[in-house]
């Protein structure tokens, strides 16, 4: 019973991180690291929540959440791509601005209540013992996010668009030579990333908590950025990492309910420590798929 709870919770609370990390993966594959993802997740969570309160439709909410995340990432894209600003510093500022702006604009929504997205059991499949409940009883955004992963993989590695996007992150000279503007490609990748992070935020507020709380992302956006590195820029591994983070979150809730006498604050730390450990393990195995433009940023050269 407890294992089932934790595994279900892993998916439920991991989805927001997963969406954000898929978005971040797109933008990093194009050579832009966006720590502002944290801000985009928050903007998405608030935008989605507010829209759902006003219109009553969670679908419109999710869309609005995505747009809010996109708008915030547009600032990052402009400063980094057009103005050549330091990527890490700009990202942090966006994160900061996102926290400030959402807690300011969101204060009227703290006490609001919404229906939002509720779990939809898939007929037949959800009747499978044990697995049915874990895998096939989730909110619609979660199902969509799972479908997104293979699509993203296909686009990135099997289509012309994917080649263009990846060459923007590896060798922009190649794109120049074939008459494509690498800046435009990066813009689109960062905006798409912001949109996905915003939808991740929407899942957080509309399906996971059904409420808006100041600074509710609690570092999920930052974790998403870290997970992309852990995943060595592969969508499927980023998904795995996100569910691992979700499992740590779910474990914490379950252990708290069981009252095993472990301090909740230790349990709160677990997801972050786990992310760090995962990063360490991966870094030990040498990998060569770091996008070239990105490795310059991570090595402390700022890049642009």
């Amino acid at each position: 019973m407890i294992t089932a709870d934790i595994l279900t919770g892993a998916i439920r609370s991991g989805t927001s991180v997963m969406l954000a990390s898929q978005g971040e993966l797109l933008s990093e594959r194009a050579g832009v690291i966006n720590l502002g993802t944290e801000g985009s997740v928050l903007a998405g969570a608030l935008g989605a929540f507010a829209t759902t309160v006003w219109t009553g439709s969670p679908w419109l909410g999710a869309l609005a959440g995505g747009v809010c995340g996109l708008l915030l990432s547009a600032i990052h894209a402009f400063l980094v791509i057009s103005r050549g600003a330091n990527q890490l510093a700009t990202g942090l500022t966006i994160m900061f601005l996102g926290i400030g702006a959402t807690s300011f604009l969101g204060r009227d929504f703290v006490s609001e209540q919404i229906v939002g997205f509720n779990p939809v059991a898939i007929p037949v499949l959800s009747d499978i013992p044990f697995l049915g409940d874990i895998l096939f009883n989730h909110d619609p955004l979660t199902y969509l996010s799972v479908l997104l992963v293979p699509c993203l993989w296909y686009v990135l590695f099997r289509t012309r668009i994917g080649v263009i996007l990846r060459s923007a992150g590896e060798r922009e000279e190649v794109l120049f030579a074939s008459g494509i503007n690498p800046k435009l490609v990066r813009y689109l990748a960062v905006l798409a990333g912001g949109f996905l992070a915003g939808v991740g935020g929407a899942q957080l507020s509309l399906a996971f908590t059904h409420s808006w709380v100041e600074n509710m992302a609690q570092g999920r956006g930052v974790v998403a950025v870290a997970l992309v590195i852990f995943a060595s820029w592969l969508p499927s591994r980023a998904m795995l990492g996100a569910y691992l983070f979700g499992a740590a979150q779910a474990l914490q809730l379950t252990v708290q309910q069981q009252g095993l006498g472990i301090s909740p604050f230790f349990l709160f730390m677990v997801p972050y420590v786990l992310t760090l450990v995962a990063l360490l393990i991966v870094e030990r195995r040498k990998h060569s798929n770091t996008p070239e433009a990105l490795s310059r940023v991570l090595a402390g050269e700022g890049g642009g």
Binding site: F96, S103, F265, L298
Partner: protein, 354 residues
């Protein structure tokens, strides 16, 4: 930071002596004014007169001694956490760990004050408490440094992740063994002995910690600008490969720079406890690490310019309180203004050269 900087002795990007200074000056002015204009428009939507707000900001800062003291009081931790960002930045590192290092520094300082220094005289107790704070911050910085040097993990990401861990560590202690037994259910530590409180200037709430921060800023500036060690750090920051080829031990420099940065932020934590709060709460110094990072960015990571930008951020923070009391806007609106200021500065800079 790759951008050319205005270091007194410039290794990177020297500024030619004969260049006309008018155009850059105008541009600088525009960059500094724009965020205030944008924020002003934002305020208009909430029926707040921006000119009156900015006026009262200046008024409450320079109007009387108490107001000035409040701004300097707010600026003090920003100077120290700003140094914690600026020093590594000179070595080419983006350290955002000031937030967590301040928290752990405050934790160590409070722990030592409550369990060890209760009966110590001030002249002995306060320095020990300061060292405890520095030690706490340094240990947290060492964690980031070890992950960087041994694990080859990017320090920006690890330091942000560790900030969350630090926050929960403080919460663990103030809910646990460091909890005030007389506090009923409120999570905070017992009050530290009055002998361990920093002396306060008459007529204000400003304490000696402000002097400590300024002295440390000057020390960091001196080390960076005038010593061989500082030269090495700046060489490493402007061209890592050159530093490697010159036979420098890059990893060792990274390691100790990050540890020193942690110690500086840890001292900020101690000053918060000993100078202002008197006890540790889960909210002690929250966001100060990020504000310090912003202050350092605004100052182009120059330790002395940092004094000025910290003062500015202090003004904006105090203005946030004015906003809350005067016009019912939450204090978080001040963070929006800060974010805007920084975005314009980041975007207004000359393009980083490849």
């Amino acid at each position: 930071m790759k951008q050319p900087t205005f270091v007194p002795v410039g290794v990177s990007g020297g500024i030619g002596p004969f260049r006309s200074n008018w155009k850059p000056l105008f541009k600088q002015l525009l960059v500094w004014l724009s965020p205030f204009v944008v924020f002003g428009v934002f305020l208009l939507f909430y029926h707040v007169n921006p000119l009156r707000l900015y006026g009262s900001m200046v008024q409450s800062t320079f109007g009387d001694l108490y107001g000035l003291g409040e701004v300097l009081l707010k600026a003090t931790p920003f100077i120290l956490t700003g140094l914690a960002a600026a020093l590594p930045a000179k070595a080419g590192l983006v350290n955002v760990g000031g937030e967590g290092q301040l928290a752990i520094g405050a934790l160590f300082a409070t722990g030592s004050a409550v369990f060890l220094l209760e009966r110590f005289p001030a002249w002995l107790g306060i320095p020990i408490m300061l060292l405890a704070g520095a030690l706490g911050g340094a240990l947290w910085g060492m964690l980031i440094a070890a992950l960087k040097v041994k694990g080859r993990l990017n320090e920006t990401i690890t330091s942000v992740l560790l900030n969350y861990v630090a926050g929960y560590t403080v919460a663990f202690f103030v809910h646990g063994i460091l909890k005030d037994p007389e506090s009923f259910n409120w999570p905070y530590s017992p009050e530290i002995a009055w002998t361990l409180r920093l002396p306060i200037f008459d007529g204000t709430r400003l304490h000696v910690g402000f002097i400590i921060a300024i002295v440390l800023a000057i020390v960091v500036w001196y080390v960076l600008a005038k010593t061989r060690l500082g030269f090495r750090i700046r060489v490493l920051g402007s061209n890592r490969h050159a530093a490697e080829r010159a036979g420098m031990n890059v990893n060792r420099t990274y390691f100790w720079v990050l540890v020193a940065a942690g110690a500086l932020a840890g001292i900020a934590g101690m000053i918060e406890i000993s100078g202002i709060e008197g006890r540790l709460r889960p909210t002690t110094g929250v966001n100060y690490g990020y504000f310090g990072f912003l202050a350092a960015m605004l100052a182009w990571n120059h330790p002395l310019k940092l004094l000025g930008t910290s003062f500015l951020l202090g003004m904006i923070s105090v203005a946030g309180n004015t906003l809350e009391i005067g016009s019912g806007l939450p204090a978080s609106s001040a963070t929006i203004l800060m974010g805007l200021v920084l975005l314009f500065i980041l975007g207004g800079r000359r393009r980083a050269k490849r």
